[in-house]
Amino acid sequence: MAKISIHEWFSKRKKEKESDYKIERLDVPGNLWVKCYKCNAAIFSKDLKENYKICPKCGYHFKLSAKERIEMTLDENSFKEFDQYIRSKDFLDFTDSKPYAKRLTEAIAKSGLNDAVITGEGTIEKMPVKMGIMDFSFMGGSMGSVVGEKITRMIEHAVESKQPVIIFSTSGGARMQEGIMSLMQMAKTSEALGRLRLNGIPYISIITDPTTGGTSASYAMLGDINIAEPGALICFAGPRVIEQTIRQKLPPGFQRSEYLKDHGMVDIVCSRNELKATLVKLLKFFSN
């Protein structure tokens, strides 16, 4: 083997590190090893999957797709999807660096989803629930007309059938490409939850990393029970906006799940491997 200088050795090592990171970010199936974002530990892919995509070394919760969440939460084959065929429309002819219409087409192709939420019904240990599961991979889980409409329809189904609602949130906030209409989804989804509440039907909100802006300021924070996944960023205004506004460094752990629990905003910080068991207890409480 040809000898290399120390400098070259370091730069080669750096390159390898970078490529590792890229592979992990892309999460290409078939990769045997992934690296933890938080502790850098190399994890055997299969182990990670079996461990609910929680890093076995440091407990970091990797992001999950809506489909993975359905698999982890609901009884096998119990899920029935609602309103699968609603799609977003570029009704403002909105163009930033690219037209919104093009962004949508790309997001649909890339994520395999029609928008940033899947809604439907299923059972957890045979207890029926109506459910909404957001997916961050579709335009950062942003809430536009489709997300608002699907969530609202799902809640209205729950009002009719008198079944509990569970929503998994993950979202960068309102979808700016839909202008004011994205803001109005906050009103629409919240009033549906108001109706659910008047009908005495429980709502469990599960807040995952990250949940910010218009989504946290509407249905994500409105659960009868709010559950947060460990370490999730949960906020109204993002840390960067706050730093720019107040020109101060933010305290450690600020706006993370544990911090929100300490400040009384969430009931439980629940690790993903204990989530289903927790949900079962809660649903039992409400139904018994």
């Binding site: 009033e191 008047l198 400040h263």
Partner: protein, 337 residues
């Protein structure tokens, strides 16, 4: 210059510069008429008329970023100004009964056209000092909770609610996050939906995102002609999506934030006209326009029962959203399965 005129030239926008010359001429004529005892009042009147025509002309071609300037003008009448001008017997009520009293959000009880009402709204200042005290109209969670507390008083004693919206947004700060800004806004949305009394919201200046909506779920939403209402500020949108905050004009146009655009989208119910040159040029007149708009809209709402009011509000926001139900996709899927 008379004090009033001095105030007027001080309030001129840069896009109103052509008016400056005319104001100067009026001033000169006044001086001449004073020193020479010539009567130039006819000439002054003519110039004043020209100012009005020119101003009308300028405002008929106003761009959206110019509207943003008018909406944010430091002399634009505030919530307390309007309450003072259209209501009597106002008693301001303070505090959220939990944490404190937020000066960026004001509210209380008052008489409006012989009827008891509850009024709430964000309060901006008219000077830097006042603005610091009022936190530039950006409320903390306790502000939203105070507003909800007052709305509940209205509900308990069966009085209509009028909310005045004028805020850059809910405040983004450490305390605001710790005390649950997101929860405070979200809870207001849910609770406003179920209010059993008539509720009118008026956007009088800046309708800044969730912070505006947080007191803005009226049965009727009215909007002053030169106000804006948007999911994010034009500057914020430009810096996030266009990666360049100087492209605010483009972002403002793209997001459709003017009263006219929002009426077309069905997000607001009515545009309230403003005096020529904007509300700050004639607050009394602006307040009068607002008063008449409230009377008209309140009349209809007072005929509804509590149940009908909730249904009316539910249906209003239920309809918001534009999307496509992709029937072809569904068909293709069905034929496959």
């Amino acid at each position: 210059m008379t004090q009033k005129e001095e105030q007027k030239t001080k309030n001129l926008f840069n896009f109103e510069k052509p008016l400056m010359e005319l104001y100067k001429k009026i001033e000169e004529l006044r001086k001449v008429s004073e020193s020479s005892q010539m009567d130039l009042s006819e000439e002054i009147k003519m110039l004043e008329k020209r100012i009005e025509t020119l101003r009308r002309d300028i405002f008929s071609k106003i761009s959206i970023m110019q509207v943003v300037q008018v909406a944010r003008h430091i002399s634009r009448p505030t919530t307390l100004d309007y309450i003072g001008l259209i209501c009597s017997d106002f008693v301001e009520l303070h505090g959220d009964r939990n944490f404190g009293d937020d000066k960026a959000m004001v509210g209380g009880i008052a008489q409006f056209e012989g009827r008891s009402v509850v009024v709430v709204g964000q309060q901006k200042g008219k000077s830097t000092k006042e603005n610091i005290e009022r936190n530039f109209g950006m409320a903390h969670p306790e502000g939203y909770r105070k507003a909800l507390r007052l709305m509940r008083i209205a509900e308990r004693f069966n009085k209509p609610i009028i909310s005045f919206i004028d805020t850059p947004g809910a405040y983004p700060g450490i305390g605001a996050e710790e005390r649950g800004q997101a929860e405070a806004v979200a809870k207001n949305l849910r609770e406003m939906a179920n209010l059993t009394v008539p509720f009118i919201s008026i956007i009088t200046g800046e309708g800044g995102s969730g912070g505006a909506l947080g007191i803005g779920m009226g049965n009727k939403v009215l909007m002053l002609e030169y106000s804006i209402y948007s999911v994010i500020s034009p500057e914020g949108c430009a810096s996030i999506l266009f990666r360049d905050s100087s492209r605010a004009q483009q972002a403002a146009e793209a997001m459709k934030i003017s009263a006219k655009d929002l009426l077309a989208l069905g997000v607001i119910d009515e545009i309230i006209k403003e005096p020529v040159g904007g509300a700050h040029n004639d607050p009394e007149k602006a307040a009068n326009f607002i008063k008449h708009a409230i009377i008209k809209n309140l009349d209809g709402l007072l005929k509804l029962s509590p149940r009908e009011l909730i249904a009316d509000r539910y249906n209003k926001y239920r309809k918001m959203g534009i999307f496509a139900e992709v029937a072809e996709l569904a068909d293709a899927h069905d034929s496959k399965s």
